[in-house]
Point group: C2
Chain length 412, copies 2
Amino acid sequence: MQTPWTERFAQRTQRMRSSAVRELLKLTEQPDLISFAGGLPAPDVFPVDQFQESTCRLLKEHGTKALQYSTTEGYRPLREMIARHSSRYGIVIEPENVLITSGSQQALDLIGKVFINPGDHLVVERPTYLGALQAWNAYEAEYINVPMDEDGMQPDALEAALRMGPKFIYALPNFQNPTGVTLSLSRRHQLIGLADHYGVPIIEDDPYGQLRYEEEHILSLVALDAQARAHNGAPYTGNIIYLSTFSKTLAPGLRLAWIVAPAEVIQKLVQAKQGADLHTSTFSQMLAYDVARGGFLDQHIKIIRAVYGARRDAMLKALEMYFPPEVTWTKPQGGLFLWATFPEYVDAADVLQAAIKEKVAFVPGTSFFADGTGRNTGRLNFSFCNEKQIADGIYRLSVALKSVLAAKAMAV
Amino acid sequence: MQTPWTERFAQRTQRMRSSAVRELLKLTEQPDLISFAGGLPAPDVFPVDQFQESTCRLLKEHGTKALQYSTTEGYRPLREMIARHSSRYGIVIEPENVLITSGSQQALDLIGKVFINPGDHLVVERPTYLGALQAWNAYEAEYINVPMDEDGMQPDALEAALRMGPKFIYALPNFQNPTGVTLSLSRRHQLIGLADHYGVPIIEDDPYGQLRYEEEHILSLVALDAQARAHNGAPYTGNIIYLSTFSKTLAPGLRLAWIVAPAEVIQKLVQAKQGADLHTSTFSQMLAYDVARGGFLDQHIKIIRAVYGARRDAMLKALEMYFPPEVTWTKPQGGLFLWATFPEYVDAADVLQAAIKEKVAFVPGTSFFADGTGRNTGRLNFSFCNEKQIADGIYRLSVALKSVLAAKAMAV
């Protein structure tokens, strides 16, 4: 007889589903469509030549090592490089505080596995990163949504949330995905203070921290927390788990990211990772190390900043020029995304449908809201398309938007 | 104040721990120690030149694609290659039946995530693969242990286990890790028949199927199940999920494996993988495809078979020559491991301790028993060391063993 497979799925799969948006976005794979939907880095900034040089050297000098099994914690020289790099920002980190993960998505999954009991409450920004919700839905988390303004999470709402006994706070302080909003320095101090006061840890997700296009770097939560605790040179043992990635600075196709945390947390995450995928690709790790070392990565990030900064400017300029006055948007200081808010009576899914007809796409915002609100919002990526495409695409999107607004006006 | 991190860990972490064996095995990292402990493929059979050629071509022709994000399902040409390869063995498989995973360990983790509710019972061989227990302990599985003889799981015990309402059966039919035992053809038919009769699915884990050193290939469970169901050319929709890997034939450092399953199972696994690591390294996938295609992998496997077959023979010969008569061992027809059984009154951990003094190591068998038994057993790997090292190592191990046996005889 036939096996009724779906009846054997575990309870937690009830919350795993392909979104309707994902289905709509499949329509965006037409060659002449301009897509602001993805979160893709621009392939034209991938350092392909450098990768070519490094793979040749790596396979010649360490070929059998690069192709063999390796430790769950990650390639030690890469962990040392990350520790050294962190110390530039005033956090004392040993390799024992660093775990290499198969992309930041795995970091989120492992954190879910190690911390979340079914029904545990997590404090998240409203809206927040979709990938975190996907990872943690599988562990049957519940969410407490804290509204944001142009400086990030609002402290009053945050404090109310902390009194609900959450397992942790999840924050994306720099150029947040999806909104592009940056948590201000004073808000960072407030967040760290409140978290410490209520004894609730923070997961700081920082994929874009180095991609700032204006003004000065603001210290990360983990660096501020380390300063406040002043451990006299001992490795970090504070209240924050920090995540970052090579996906936006080197290449996402390698699937390489890392977690910085107190050693006792890393040890448990290592046990979880051992059961999850044994270790991250040795080849990817040794390759990333070889490409990044000797200051190459720092230099390369300057190129990325110049390219993406110009694209952000192009998008802001086009929005100013073409978008109807009923629509507002954020002005991110860095990262890959900005966030548009349509009039309340507009459903972004309708806008997307009209947009696809005009051969342009974006992501409706509601997927980023743990509470299912935000139907009149949308995320626009500015890293992938060049300036000409951005200008054209925003124009096309404005045509789609105006058609939806006009139809709504007719209906009223 | 200090954050009491460990108090925030989820309930499921209670079952995640570093084993005592793992600690002992850290002592085996001395350069002059001969280790039969790992499960490492021999680096001397890695096709490094082929990898060098392929990376150069790949980065030159498809550099930006290889470094970019890609789909969760996996690189389509690789999935097509796996589908074609499966069809050689009489299973009709479409790319929609194939999911690429970050090593087989991730396949086990995703299966746990999609199927196991806390407390669910799983039928496993006694002993079984340690990595599966690690993956599924995190989902709070319980185990029903079915004893094995030289033909694999015993049908009577299996049937009794199936009447306990398990979620699935986990089986390693070819040259099982850890015992090296192969499930005979008649037992395969019995297993498939019983599973179908009780309506319980099978997870078939087959990392070593192509590494057979004598006699003829026995059809996989999934192929036999497909035959029995005779779908007239429609893609497979039977009762079995099949896992295999490139780790033992190409290189483990890439972390590449795959799952073959009915399409509705693959779809749910894809959703789980999206939250777990988004996708497996694009670079690794395209590289493996480029190395494997055009018949190279088939040719390369012949070399591996010749090398490992000779090493297995060397180990069997040395065991015959040096081991005391109180010890027995399996004679695997393929794979990487054989299995030693010491007298009941001997603890393999004591043997390991004595062995390390003699500069040789193996893995005590108890970690492979879900019920914690098997203290007088051990797993010996024969793929990693060359024939000279194998002869020397087995001699050293015999010295250690005899010292433990002599001490026990004194104590009696």
